[in-house]
């Protein structure tokens, strides 16, 4: 029997056994490679790397050809989507602007509700004369309208009520040469003056009694100063378009373009009540403001108070403290060292 166990057969069996043993030993994952394995890898790996690069390149080429069609389709879709998004964006922008406009119109009353009680009124007629600027509104004493109520539109000040009938009221516009409003520039310098209408029919206003060295320049916004009993402070009147010196050398005046558009007035608001504490506060003037320039003061009996630049944020000249001017006070104290210039309507 041993004759059959030839040498080949024995070697064969030994090899198989060794292989199995090797398999068995390397069945568990190992951290370290045996030197033979390392050597083998170091031969094969570079070849692998080269082949891999070649494969990637080839694949890239084929991908390019394959995807051009896809990319074109994708681009067409994206362009279309962009066009649609742009249109929608435009539409939304329009809505946004309309929103702002409508808010301004309707929301004006809401936003002012903290400062004023407003009554809406329609303009039913204007003064038939070329020499006067007044209009008639459709609210009267039956609706609670009283003389001297201030009339505004969202853009700015319009005028005040003069005469009242049960169902209508007459409003004198600030354009009328007889109307006077105490104004102040909305700048750090707070230059005061009196805003009157011009009689040239062109619709501009004139701010007079401005001392020659007061700081006022083109583009300044003029608002009501609140001095005087009639107009609450902070109402926008107009903006300066030029400043002119007056002969005599003491004073200059500014020509203003009013903010309200008087040609097309149809709806106005009457101020029926004022919440003083919510009115905008004017910024504190520089401390020496009261001493700067000629101080003109006195009273006007045409309705609006004429005031002196007695310092709007606090007065150390001993005059009326017009800084926290409540509407019950007129700046009537005369500065003793300056004579008032000739007044209007005198």
């Amino acid at each position: 029997m041993l004759r059959f166990l030839s040498r080949t057969f024995i070697i064969f069996v030994l090899v198989i056994a060794a292989t199995f043993a090797l398999m068995w030993f390397t069945a568990v994952p190992r951290q370290v490679l045996a030197p033979v394995e390392t050597a083998a890898r170091s031969v094969v790996d570079p070849v692998n790397a080269g082949l891999m690069a070649l494969t990637r390149y080839a694949r890239g080429l084929t991908d390019m050809f394959v995807s051009v069609g896809e990319l074109q389709g994708e681009k067409a879709e994206l362009v279309k989507e962009l066009g649609e998004l742009r249109q929608e964006n435009n539409r939304l922008k329009e809505y946004q602007l309309e929103n702002i406009r409508l808010r301004e119109l309707l929301g004006f009353k809401e936003s002012s509700i903290n400062q004023f009680n407003l009554m809406a009124a329609s303009v039913v007629g204007r003064n038939p004369s070329n020499w006067h600027s007044t209009l008639t509104v459709n609210r009267g004493s039956r609706d609670g309208v009283k003389p001297d109520m201030v009339v505004i539109v969202p853009e700015g000040l319009v005028g005040r009520v003069t005469r009242v009938t049960p169902h209508t009221a007459e409003v004198i516009l600030i354009l009328d040469p007889d109307a006077a409003v105490g104004g102040v520039s909305q700048t750090v310098d707070q230059t005061p003056g009196v805003v009157v209408g011009t009689d040239d029919g062109l619709g501009y206003l004139k701010m007079i009694h401005v001392p020659y060295d007061a700081v006022i320049s083109k583009g300044d916004t003029i608002v009501t100063s609140g001095l005087g009993r009639l107009y609450p402070r902070g109402l926008r009147i107009g903006s300066v378009i030029r400043v002119e010196n007056e002969s005599g050398g003491f004073l200059k005046h500014a020509i203003l373009k009013p903010f309200a558009s008087f040609d097309h007035l149809q709806e106005v608001f009457l101020v029926t009540g004022v919440h003083e504490e919510n009115l905008p506060k004017l910024p504190e003037p520089p401390k020496d403001n009261a001493a700067a320039g000629a101080n003109a003061s006195g009273t006007i009996d045409s309705g609006a108070g004429r005031h002196g630049p007695t310092g709007l944020g606090g007065n150390d000249q001993g005059g009326t403290n017009a800084g926290t001017a409540d509407l019950g006070r007129t700046a009537t104290t005369a500065q003793p060292d300056v004579t008032p210039p000739p007044g209007i309507g005198e």
């Binding site: 039913v124 007629g125 038939p128 070329n130 020499w131 006067h132 040469p177 009689d199 029919g201 309507g345």
Partner: protein
Amino acid sequence: MRYIVLAVAVVVALALESTIFPVLSVAGIKPDLVLIIVIFFALLNGSRPGAVLGFFGGLLEDLLIGKFIGINALTMMITGLVVGQIENKVYRENIVVPVILTYAGSVFCEILFLLFARLVGMNIPFWGGLARVGIPVAIYNSCLVPLVYGKFYRSSTKGWLKNRQAAQV
């Protein structure tokens, strides 16, 4: 009858001046329609009727304006008086006559207004007011004449405005 028509015409004129003509104003200037009516009436009917219409028409306008009541009554009355002097001295069918007369009459009335305004304390500079308001009003007035004179004339001679008591000349 004619007085009712005149009264209605004046009222309508004032209403137009208060509502429509502010929209049709040129450089802020409206025509003075009541003055046009007064001038026409004075031209066609003489001094006294012209003066009377001027007085009452102007007074109505003053009442609507509310200030310095009487100034328009006076100025229009005097204008009616003066224009009425020309009544029989011109050829009234020619449209040029009322155009020129309206222009001259309007300037005259505005000058009177400015003079009286100074007297009563209105703060209007004379030359400035004349240049910026007076003359433009006169021009605007005379531009409207061709539109309205024809009807007025026919009404005065044949229609409601006819003076039935005057002897036919």
